[in-house]
């Protein structure tokens, strides 16, 4: 199926020219040397990037400001079932609206962010830390509550846009709740 005289070997020469162009271009054009030399150079983080979950707390105190109320919706919806929550109880055994135990097994977690999506209280969000390697294979990546809590300042550094929106919503909700409490108390 050749049309006319075709020099056998020309295709190879075209290929060689293409690789030569890439070789020379790798010295002159930054698009032809695409390696990012980690760890000296790190790529800038992306707004929506996600790795593993974190618990967000308002204010300065991780215990008092924790948004999580131990409703266990994330535990139920998590596909690989890697979240384990136990609600806190007071002295008389009544359930309090905060978790005593909140474990996320990051060796099982898929990073699917369904927990963050279903949480009605914006308490669990996705973190972007990825340098989490540990030497202990059994339980080394089981993160406890103390390792999962992050402040809203931190949330703003990793997800600026989302944090600002959610902080605004949370502040609004709190203002409405306080107003209702005052109106109810006063009236």
């Amino acid at each position: 199926m050749s049309r006319g005289v075709r020099l056998v070997g020309l295709g190879i020469v075209k290929g060689l020219i293409e690789t030569a162009r890439n070789f020379i271009g790798s010295y002159r054009d930054p698009r032809r040397l695409v390696t990012v030399e980690y760890p000296e150079v790190r790529l800038p983080p992306v707004e929506r990037a996600r790795t593993f979950p974190m618990l967000v707390y308002d204010g300065a105190d991780p215990e008092a400001g924790l948004r999580c109320v131990a409703c266990k919706i994330c535990e139920k919806e998590c596909p690989p079932q890697c979240i384990y929550i136990e609600a806190d109880r007071d002295a008389r055994g009544r359930v309090l609206k905060r978790p005593r135990v909140f474990d996320v097994d990051c060796s099982v977690c898929m990073g699917c962010q369904i927990c963050a999506e279903v949480c009605p209280f914006d308490a669990i969000k996705m973190n972007t830390e990825y340098e989490l390697a540990v030497a202990d294979r059994f339980g080394g990546l089981l993160l406890r509550k103390s390792q999962l809590v992050r402040s809203t300042e931190y949330h703003r550094t990793v997800h600026p846009q989302e944090a600002v929106e959610i902080d605004a919503q949370v502040a609004q909700a709190r203002a409405r709740a306080e107003a209702k409490a005052r109106a109810g108390g006063g009236g």
Partner: protein
């Protein structure tokens, strides 16, 4: 689409065992493990048992640890010198119980698992599952979400075909250069996915009735920039390899798949179109809003590996055309059907089969709902698995090197084959 498919002939062929090798029944019954005695061949593997012929045969097991088997995949090959006499694929090394897991959790919980089916094309997997559930629940998808779905699917198709070409040429022996060029472009597409969905590969982005979240500001411009650079990359790629004499000699005439066999075996996707059968689900089913876009479907004439390779290059160009049209026409609006619910999603009892043209072929999800929050039956039609069934027919009589190239040309991903 018919291509000569006659039901009676098919049933007749199945009953006489025409489609399956004669001693396959015997081989399946005597499933004893191959005896690895140090002195040599005390017993022979089932693949070799069923070979009849003269001479010494060499039984080789390619894989599961092998650079070219596209994941953990084993091929038991019986060779006569270097010619393949019998070839049996053995897989299941990556079986992860996906279909059973789908029955355990809710409908939403299965969505991240679909990412991991064909792990190169997570967004098309998500879309196929969402299609099936939307059929089951009768949910409509808003227009902006449909446009986003088309854009995501075509971007996925471009990067999948680029990867495939890279892998095929890597197996043909080009020491990594085409792979690196293909992955250079793929990185740009993955960056787009990361800014849209939060993850490069395991996107988990579509929901039943639309998309999870809207496009971030500046995404359309970024996408336009990436798409604008694609034609130049495709030209360079063609220059590098499409007329390379060595590549042509390696792939033309190798692994010829006849149209009749392709249709009978259920092969779909670019492999089917390379054999000359005009069947593209985007045109046949018109799912989503594909009927609004003008694009052509390339067809091959010979059905060999070269055709499969070139069809994919041409399909990449058509995808670029679709992307241009979709990016130009995307409207504003909601991205999620207001009736869709994240939690306590209970579609009414019934069954649905949702399918689409994934980059590897027809990816389908068959769901049976019993009215509860979990599917009663969750079944995936994996295109790679079904395309793989013709591997032996393609490879018998060819050299071992050809078998590797043919395997590369079929485009399989073990995540999909084994689920």
């Amino acid at each position: 689409m018919n291509g000569g498919l006659d039901e009676r002939a098919l049933i007749g062929a199945l009953s006489t065992g025409d489609l399956m090798p004669e001693s396959a029944g015997a081989a399946i019954e005597e499933q004893r493990p191959p005896d690895a005695s140090p002195s040599g061949s005390a017993t022979r593997s089932p693949a070799a048992e069923s070979v009849r012929g003269e001479g010494e045969f060499l039984e080789v097991s390619l894989g599961p640890h092998h650079p070219s088997t596209h994941g953990v995949f084993r091929v038991d090959v019986v060779l006569d010198g270097e010619r393949v006499v019998r070839l049996k694929p053995v897989f299941g090394y990556l079986h992860r119980n996906h279909e059973k897991l789908g029955e355990r959790g809710s409908y939403l919980a299965a969505m991240p698992y679909t990412d991991r089916l064909d792990y190169f094309c997570s967004l098309t997997n998500n879309w196929a599952y969402a299609l099936a559930v939307e059929k089951l629940a009768g949910l409509e998808v808003p227009e902006r979400a449909e446009y986003i779905r088309v854009i995501a699917a075509e971007l996925t198709r471009v990067q999948n075909h680029a990867c495939l070409i890279g892998f095929l040429l890597q197996e043909a022996g080009a020491m990594g250069t085409p792979i690196m060029y293909a992955f250079r472009e793929r990185e740009k597409v993955l960056d787009l996915f990361e800014s849209l969905t939060g993850a490069r590969m395991m996107c988990n982005y579509f929901r039943f009735g639309g998309c999870r979240c809207d496009l971030p500001p500046g995404w359309i411009e970024q996408c336009r920039r990436v798409v604008a650079e694609l034609p130049r990359f495709l030209d360079e790629f063609e220059n590098l390899l499409a007329t390379n004499e060595i590549l042509m000699a390696r792939t033309q005439g190798v692994g010829v798949l006849s149209a009749a066999l392709a249709v009978n075996a259920g092969v779909t996707g670019p492999n089917l179109r390379a054999s000359g059968v005009n069947y593209d689900l985007r045109k046949a089913d018109r799912y989503g809003i594909y009927d609004r876009f003008k694009f052509r479907v390339p067809l091959g004439a010979h059905g060999d590996v070269y055709d499969r390779y070139m069809i994919r290059v041409l399909e990449m160009r058509e995808s670029v055309a679709i992307l241009d049209q979709a990016l130009a026409g995307i409207p504003e609006g909601p991205i999620l059907n207001p009736r869709s619910r994240l939690r306590s999603f209970r579609p009414r009892a019934g069954e649905a089969y949702g399918r689409l043209e994934a980059p590897k072929g027809e990816l389908g999800f068959y769901l049976i709902s019993d009215g509860s929050g979990s599917p009663y039956r969750y079944r995936i039609r994996p295109p790679s698995f079904i395309n793989l069934t013709v591997l032996e027919d393609l490879c018998v009589g060819r050299l071992l090197q050809d078998a590797i190239v043919i395997l590369g040309g079929i485009d399989i991903v073990m995540g999909e084959v084994d689920r």
